[in-house]
Amino acid sequence: MESKVSKKKIGLLPKYFKIIGIAVIILAFVPPIIVKSMNIEIIQSQKEFFKLIAFNFFILGLFFIAISRDKIEDEMTIIIRLKSMAFAFSWAVLYVIIKPFVDLLFKDPPQDLTGQGIVMSMLIVYMIIYYLLKKGR
């Protein structure tokens, strides 16, 4: 059930992309689990490569889940999506500003901000807010 208005206005992925997203997230954890469980010796550069791949797959999976259609997509869910995105954007701005100071106080040495970390936190915040607003309507 979906109105023509919501179909025309925003380009969301089909509903089955939620399942694809979950599969991609699971896939992200497969290489590290195999390496750990089988005690495979890998060098530092390989470790970094696996970490990069795992993070990218995890972000891609979250992205698929975040922008795929719900069972019922109407104008109210579009507004909820918009509010969640605005919240996630504000979160990212505050995260970038505040994190270095938090790191300075509690971590030694402070960790660098990565694009992956920001995007991942935005997607997670977006999904949490979207879920909460949907439940609270």
Partner: protein
């Protein structure tokens, strides 16, 4: 914005789900409109008025602070 959606629905003996199915939205959206937590778009307002065979102004009314 005030609305008489619940009254109109009762007149036709429609449930929130029935109305939601007729206009292609979720039951939660109808619930939010009735509770005045959400103001529907023009398109949705017209769809609702067509179900009740009346005008938009009969169902939705502006309040002083709108």
């Amino acid at each position: 914005m005030k609305n008489t959606l619940k009254v109109e629905r009762a007149k036709l003996n429609l449930t929130q789900q029935d109305l939601a199915d007729k206009i292609g939205v979720s039951r939660q959206t109808i619930n939010s409109i009735e509770a005045e937590r959400y103001v529907p778009s023009t398109v949705l307002s017209i769809k609702i008025s067509e179900v009740f065979k009346t005008t938009v102004n009969e169902i939705f009314k502006l309040e002083k602070d709108d």
